[in-house]
Amino acid sequence: MMFAAAAAGVVITMLLVLVRSLVGPNIYNRILSVNTFGTLSVMLIAIYGFVDDRPEFLDLALTYALINFIGTIAVTKYVTFSDMGHGDDGDPMGDI
């Protein structure tokens, strides 16, 4: 029961964060919001594993944490350089 209450708190926070990704004035606000949403979904999956008493969900949470980080860095890099790596002219675009 208490785990369900904790999960409800996380879901409410996710809704609050989602508002910023919808109204956010520029792309950076949206990336920030989606990154935080990802962190909150890691928490939600971990708590859900305890609600349902199925510890396998922690593996999913770990995978979500990995994908969330890679995704944030990739989108930030794409927005900054309009490219995911080396440009057509062989010029290294730099790491972010």
Binding site: M2, A6, G9, V10, I12, T13, M14, L16, V17, V19, R20, N26, Y28, N29, I31, L32, S33, N35, T36, T39, L40, V42, M43, A46, I47, F50, P55, L58, D59, A61, L62, A65, L66, N68, F69, T72, I73, T76, K77, V79, T80, G94, I96
Partner: protein, 121 residues
């Protein structure tokens, strides 16, 4: 004998973590400029997930579940500041600047851009 104490302690940690999450979510909506919102988001990424996971570890006891939770926690503690840093650098290099009042602060904002971004001016 120890079990009820650990249980109560874990719930205190989890509730504190959820409260920090709600405060962070409110801050992301309410605060005025991008860097202030970044500050609110980092509250969720550190204290929110940290306290909730410490509470879950106390619930799990000394098991494989606790080890996995520790792994996730360590990973998030390393990656979340990295992502925040990359995002703040990208934003400040693309002229999303903090709202400041004095000249001294404006000079600090200008200096905070990286060398490549400052060069064209």
């Amino acid at each position: 004998m120890l079990a009820p104490i650990l249980d109560a302690l874990s719930w205190i940690f989890i509730i504190a973590g959820i409260v920090f999450c709600l405060i962070g979510g409110y801050g992301i909506i309410k605060l005025k400029d991008f860097f202030a919102r970044l500050h609110a988001a980092s509250l969720i990424d550190t204290l929110g997930i940290g306290l909730v996971f410490v509470g879950l570890i106390l619930q799990a006891g000394f098991t494989l579940v606790a080890a996995k939770l520790v792994l996730i926690l360590i990973f998030v503690f390393f990656t979340s500041p990295t992502a925040t840093y990359a995002l703040a650098r990208a934003a400040i290099n693309h002229d999303v600047l903090p709202e400041v009042e004095t000249d001294e602060e404006r000079e600090l904002v200008r200096l905070s851009k990286t060398k490549e971004a400052r060069a064209p001016q």
